[in-house]
Amino acid sequence: MDKISLKNHAKNIRKNIVKMVANANSGHIGGALSATDILTVLYFNEMNIHAENVGGVNRDRFVLSKGHASALLYSTLHEKGLLNEDLMTFRFIDSKLQGHPNMNYVAGVDMSTGSLGQGVSAAVGMAMANKLAKNDYRVYALLGDGECQEGQVWEAAMAAAHYKLDNLVVIVDFNGLQIDGDITKVMNPIPIDEKFKAFGFEVEVIDGHDYDAIDAALKHARNVKGKPTMILAHTVKGKGVSFMEHNAGWHGVAPNAEELAKALAELEVL
């Protein structure tokens, strides 16, 4: 898909994220906007997922290990035409669009997540299952950089390299922020790239808002044999809304009507 179309999809996804969180008056915007370009390329260029196969497991799969970015996943599935739920029921009672994703409610949500560090292990299991079943479906997992503080992430990394999971791509949304602020001040996980290298991963460091770079890194991973790939994507938390960018305060806060209007206006011309 060409860059103009990707950009358009990303714009729609971002606008819906902001609307959903504003409408629910709760949810996580910052880490959803930082990974929007990554998911746009994944769903529109990379993954083999469409209306005919979304209901099953015979396809590429995606695990949102940073489950709090649920609005991003729903908004992306919606933009791809795979989700018919009303996005504005997000986080309301009786809605399939749970605050953190539930795999039994929405086709295309491949794992129930929300407790950080756990999704990536499930992705390892899926990749191992694909190897066992001798199919060539691929598995993608998106992690937060703060999430990399969880010990389980490194247990998963060890297992992924041990079982030579070249069908697994772990993407770390390197936005530099977590709830309590700068990741290096809270509990420094850096260097994330060197750590994954030491664990036996192929490592690529890219600009997570550059469609060509994201695309190239994912294509490169397809040619890596005998080991998993980790893509460290430099991103901006809150990307696209000036007053949310680089601001940990917008991790889990909903915009009011005025802020929503301002955010939508900025995203329109991004």
Binding site: S95, G99, S115, G146, Q149, Q178
Partner: protein, 307 residues
Amino acid sequence: MGQATREAYGDILGQLILENEKIVVLDADLTKSTKTSVAQSKVPNRHFNMGIAEANMMGVAAGFASSGYTVFASTFAMFATGRAWEQVRNSIGYPRLNVKICGTHAGIAVGEDGVSHQAIEDIALMRAIPGMQVYQPCDATETKAIIRHVSQIDGPCYVRLGRSKVDDVFNEDTKFEIGKIHQITKGSNVCIFTTGLMTQAALKAQKKLQEEGIEMSVVNVSCLKPLDEEGVFKMLKEHDVIITAEEHNVIGGLGAAIAEVSTSKCPKLIHRMGIYDCFAESGPFEKLLVKYHLDSEDIVKKVKEVL
């Protein structure tokens, strides 16, 4: 509306850390949510952010405690008691170390974040660890009394705290006997044991029932373990109809604890209100409490049904 119990926790901890230089506070990237941020601002060098790594935090808490410190370790109840359960059991419970695990955002009243963040098993999990004391205050004043109490006793404690603001039940003049059950209203033959925000719901129900001529004893249980067996026994003897209400799975929580006393000391039919062994969902917390039958109206209905 009064403060949320987590807010009262933050305030009293901010005071205690100034009074007691042996207190250290650990948190896991949730300082503004758990309100340990107050203590952090007062004494920054005895507050440690351990990052999003709860299992390690509990191990570190054990190390501090074994070195003579009184440790307050906070994160959401889900991660404190769930993610790190085995670390709590083996590194804190087994060596009986002086760690106060204060889990906030417990129960379904977390609201919109949904099931992954709604601890409805934490009381059961913590009660099952030998020697672990388990507390759940219902309002701000009681929270402060309980936090002060646990800071003064030796050994592992779990304190269950809520996210949402709740009505004040007690006031400055209330004399607390921490560890004992607290009979707030005196009824005739109906008695409801409650913990946490179900105490407020029961008090609302009690008023409505009173208008209809039904007198109900509301008994707040803020110390779930060790349970005040004498006090519970007395209530069981004095009332014909016994109900329990908790914002927790009916398995392993307050209802189970009361039933355990009843079965060995004073066998009785016990009507348990709580989450009936299901996962809840996302939504505004008041609506969740209604949908999962934990509203004051549900208590009124239950009383009429079993009377």
